[in-house]
């Protein structure tokens, strides 16, 4: 059992720690210990980001990446769930496949991005497929994990309640697997972002990744750090929201 005062204390210390790190970084930059070519002070990053957003300079790029991420994440989550459920039903395929799936993330999948460009051309579609390819495996793995951890007694109870196979799946197995599925969604979204931004870095005509790479190549540190900050804030916001959803679910349902 955690008490509220402990939670508040932890939150305060954490906030202080993060602020202190930013202040230290600011100081190091201002004193010239970190030179301006390497990194601009955090305050200037914020200012740069503010200017970019205020002037609406890269709104098209931001929207481009955003739409791609949403599309890729949807593909990854839905496709990963369906494949994972199918694998769960086929244990003889699943068992030898799972170790291969966990090696999947040791390979930079985006080396296949140029091949996707040949099929889909430079543009949205290749990036979305790239992002979905990166995210889908996390969803597959977590779906098989979740469905595999349904306690046998739950299935037995379903039989006693005379539910047919489909109803057992919809009413018992899926809700029982929900905590794992949420983890899968969280990871699939995070990996979709990585896949898309990586693709934009390598070859794209627009997008946040493209802007960062372009600014880097042209020694435009203000734009680069401004856009980096935007990306980090966006990722942390999405990840934070999904994580807290996941935590709430785990806490309410207990650790199983």
């Amino acid at each position: 059992m955690r008490c509220r005062s402990h939670d508040i204390k932890v939150g305060v210390v954490r906030a202080a720690l993060i602020l202190a790190s930013c202040a230290a970084l600011e100081l190091l930059c201002r004193l010239g210990i970190i030179n301006r070519v390497t990194m601009i002070p955090p305050s200037e990053m914020v200012a740069a980001l503010w200017n970019i957003l205020w002037a609406g300079l890269y709104n098209a790029d931001i929207l481009f990446t955003l739409v791609n991420v949403v599309a890729a994440a949807l593909l990854a989550v839905i496709g990963g769930f369906l494949i994972g459920a199918a694998l769960h039903a086929l244990p003889r395929v699943r068992r030898p496949l799972v170790p291969l799936l966990s090696a999947y993330y040791a390979i930079p999948t985006f080396v296949f991005y140029p091949l996707l460009i040949v099929v889909f051309g430079v543009g949205r579609t290749a990036l979305i497929v790239m992002g979905a390819m990166f995210g889908v495996v996390a969803m597959i793995v977590n779906t098989t994990l979740g469905l595999g951890h349904v306690p046998p007694v739950v299935a037995k109870t379903g039989a006693i309640l005379r539910l047919d196979g489909l109803r057992q799946l919809a009413l018992l197995r899926l809700p029982s697997a929900a905590p794992h599925l949420v983890t899968g969604v969280k990871l699939a979204v995070a990996y979709s972002v990585i896949g898309i931004v990586a693709g934009e870095f390598i070859l794209a005509t627009e997008g946040i990744g493209k802007r960062i790479a372009y600014a880097y190549d042209n020694f435009d540190n203000r734009t680069m750090y401004g856009m980096l900050l935007l990306l980090l804030i966006g990722v942390m916001a999405v990840n934070g929201a999904l994580s807290s959803w996941e935590k709430r679910l785990h806490r309410r349902f207990g650790q199983r």
């Binding site: 046998p152 007694v153 739950v154 037995k156 309640l161 109803r167 809700p175 029982s176």
Partner: protein, 273 residues
């Protein structure tokens, strides 16, 4: 003996053999077993661990098919489909952690497409009956093991089963809670008129609760003795101070001791549980 089934539940020469795989030998888990359980009876099965008690319960529930012999429920053959009118509570916690207590109990009624108002009344009644009214909006993770087991019992009772099968439902609870749950079980049994089949390894529980107690042998499980307690229908846990209680428990242990020793010597292949 053989011929027309006599009880609400009848077993005639029932055996259950699990086919071995990956080079393991077949496991003869149960039987042959003959049994008649009368409508409204409180029948308990005790036996050493791994003796096939849970296999017997699976057969009675219609969860698994028999290898040979016949099993009938109200004259109809049990063939691997759970018939209407059977409720079961297991040793493992089967409360649905994604539903609150109220929705857990309403689960089966919802499946039947019952009118909202009827359903709400019956769920509230079941919650009150099991002392869960104050926890209707709680999730299982917030409850103790005993309370979760009450949720499972309420979820089963609300469907008004004709037969209530209980597979060591209090196995994970402490002794005091067990005795109190035993009282509650007796009350449920009296007030619903359901037939109760209880599987347990606790001899005192068996002696206190049952009309008849069957003692099972080590695997393959067969009945080596059926003890009739002769208790009145109105009874509760205070019966443990009756002098006959000690005699019944002693008789059960006398029969079971040898079988338990035998069961400990044979390696458990893990068919049970």
């Amino acid at each position: 003996m053989a011929g027309e089934p006599e009880g609400q539940i009848s077993l005639r020469g029932v055996t259950k053999v699990f086919p071995g795989h990956d080079g393991h030998a077949d496991v003869h888990a149960l039987g042959p077993v003959d049994l008649d359980i009368a409508r409204g009876e409180f029948f308990t099965v005790v036996g050493p661990s791994g003796c096939g008690k849970s296999t017997l319960l699976d057969v009675l529930a219609g969860l698994s098919t028999v290898t040979s012999g016949s099993a009938t429920f109200e004259g109809k053959r049990l063939d691997g489909q759970v018939p209407d009118g059977i409720g079961a509570v297991f040793q493992q916690d089967a409360s649905f952690f994604w539903l609150d207590v109220w929705d857990n109990v309403a689960f089966g009624l919802r499946r039947r497409g019952m009118a909202k108002a009827d359903m709400a009344r019956r769920v509230d009644d079941a919650l009150a009956f099991m002392g869960l009214a104050a926890f209707a909006k709680a999730f299982p993770a917030q409850l103790s093991g005993g309370m979760r087991q009450r949720v499972c019992i309420a979820r089963t009772l609300v469907l008004e089963p004709k037969v209530l099968l209980l597979d060591e439902p209090f196995g994970a609870l402490d002794q005091q809670t067990r005795l109190l749950m035993g009282d509650e079980l007796l009350r449920i049994w009296r007030e619903t008129g359901a037939t109760v089949v209880l599987i347990t390894h606790a001899l005192d529980e068996a002696a206190m609760l049952s009309d008849r107690v069957a003692v099972m042998s080590a695997r393959p499980g067969r009945f080596i003795e059926i003890v009739t307690t002769g208790w009145p229908r109105a009874r509760d846990s205070r019966i443990v101070s009756d002098e006959r209680f000690g005699a019944i428990t002693a008789r059960l242990w006398d029969k079971l001791r040898e079988e338990s020793l035998r069961a400990m010597k044979t390696p458990d292949v893990g068919q049970e549980d």
